[in-house]
Amino acid sequence: MVIDVELRGVTKRFADIVAVDNVSIQILKGEFFSLLGPSGCGKTTTLRTIAGFEDPSEGEVFISGQSMAGVPPFKRPTNMVFQHLALFPHLSVEENVAFGLKVKRLAKQEIRQRASKFLEIVRLSGLEKRKISQLSGGQQQRVAIARALVTEPTVLLLDEPLGPLDLRLRLEMQEELKRIQREVGTTFVYVTHDQTEALSLSNRVAVMISGRIEQVGTPLEVYEKPRNHSVAEFMGETNMLGGRYLDGAVEIDGLSVRVTSQASKGTDIIFSIRSEKISIGKTLSGPDNVFKGTVRGVTYRGSDSVYDVQLSERIIIKVRSTNLALESIYRVGDEVFVGWDIDKALLISSLR
């Protein structure tokens, strides 16, 4: 395994703000690696530190094993697709793509060949002479990607490139990004706050919260096995329940919830159970835990619905259910049963 990018204890402070807090990650060659986190958690700053636009306050960035300390952006083997694209408005599509090659003073012939090859990869052939302002949002994304890939960087950094696109176009561009990455084999470091995007695109995901990397793993790992409270809460739609652990069950507001746990008797624990792991029905048998409740809220979302189900005075849990049939769509006030198997609940912490 070759490591393309490594951050060792990187911290970045702006006055009294710690934007990036002691981040250490290793990104492998050819990997599609995502930095996932809420807005303002330090994703852009991390990317800019790799690109060389910010100097780390502490720690060091390595690319292909080389320390990047003191190396200016124009000497780093990284290219960036900027959050707002930053395409050159005074240049045509072709000139934008050729920019990096011209700066490197390649022969005219080769510049034309390479630019046209990458315009083909992003499927923009025929639009070479267009001005940037004459392109649609999706086409502009493609220009930005081609412009950044054409100089064949070791690492491509992408900062929420699909943010401004509408849902349909975003899904289409996600597919395109996957295809392009397979085709060119370049290491992608992808920043997004959209977990579906991160999970569906990446080989590995780093979950970043408040400047810190909370967990690094495959999409499956970070979603199914969140390492701590913050990750569990950030990923998906989850119910956090807490109470005192006694003999294989937790007592919560009069309910006895069975859990698998190595916690010792008498300690307070918190566990998380995702909304889609909970079954709901007029009758329900099978799951280890079954509770009777009342529907207090319904969010109908077409393919599925999310219910707020009250189980006891203080406990209302979110349940997501696929809308298989009209009969299985419930209304506020309906009496329902909800349930889950004990292995679906994740122990988050023994304290809090």
Binding site: F53, P72, M80, F82, F88, F99, V103, A148
Partner: protein, 255 residues
């Protein structure tokens, strides 16, 4: 309604200029109605008068040098003001640089005259150039500040990211993008210098600029027709300058 107002607006602003041009073709030694006959003799007189020609040459020279000094000078200052947020005393500096714009020209003239005397600099076109540069600089600065505030710096980062060093980035990205601002600043500087009379009057040596020359001749009634002709020429030149710059801008935009 709106249309009517605009007709009035243009009539109000352009009528004096149009009348000036009309009378410059009037075959009469007295400027005024009636319009006797069409003639080009006043223009012929302008072209054969060496003092007028040299005044025109002086004005063009001063204007050109002032433009070459104040455009880069104002631009550099604008870069510092807009880009270096941390610059100590920036707020004070912001206000200070604009003060020359609101000082009455006569006072600027006297203070410069005093200053040049004090440092022992003899009055000549050089002192006029220095004076006009001082007047034009804040205007160049203002135009460029407006341009730079709207400048998306991630474009420069994108260029560097793609391998362009600072100089290449400046030449290939920054410069083309601020070009319309530079053009506007240059034309403004030239126009200010070309028409300026008050400060020039104080700082001029023995070689008058065109406005100073006209100013000196205007009380001689016999010279008035020639002056209308030379003024009409200056007017066309200024108009030509604006039109040319607008065309350049459009062509660049189309490209």
């Amino acid at each position: 309604m709106h249309f009517g107002y605009m007709v009035f607006y243009y009539a109000f602003t352009f009528a004096p200029l149009i009348i000036l041009v009309i009378f410059s073709f009037n075959d009469s030694a007295r400027v005024g109605l009636p319009f006797k006959a069409f003639t080009l003799k006043w223009y012929a007189e302008v072209l054969s008068d060496p003092t007028i020609l040299s005044a025109i040459a002086n004005s063009l020279l001063v204007g050109a040098v002032v433009t070459l000094l104040s455009t880069p000078g104002g631009t550099a200052a604008a870069f510092v003001l807009v880009r270096h947020q941390s610059f100590v005393g920036r707020k004070a500096f912001n206000t200070l640089v604009l003060i020359p714009m609101v000082i009455p020209p006569v006072i600027v003239g006297i203070s410069l005259l005093t200053f040049f005397h004090a440092i022992g600099l003899e009055l000549s076109l050089v002192t006029v150039i220095l004076a006009h540069t001082l007047i034009a600089l804040p205007f160049s600065l203002l135009v460029m500040v407006a341009r730079l505030i709207g400048f998306d710096r991630s474009l420069e980062e994108a260029a560097m990211d793609l391998g362009a060093d600072e100089l290449t980035t400046f030449l290939k990205v920054t410069l083309p993008l601020i070009f319309p601002g530079l053009l506007a600043a240059a034309i403004l500087a030239f126009t200010i210098s070309f028409g300026e009379v008050a400060v020039a009057f104080f700082t001029i040596g023995y070689q008058p600029t065109l406005p100073v020359y006209i100013f000196g001749q205007v009380r001689l009634p016999t010279r008035l027709p020639v002056l209308t002709a030379v003024s009409a020429l200056a007017l066309s030149f200024s108009a030509l300058l604006v039109v040319a710059s607008e065309i350049t801008r459009r062509i660049r935009e189309k490209k």
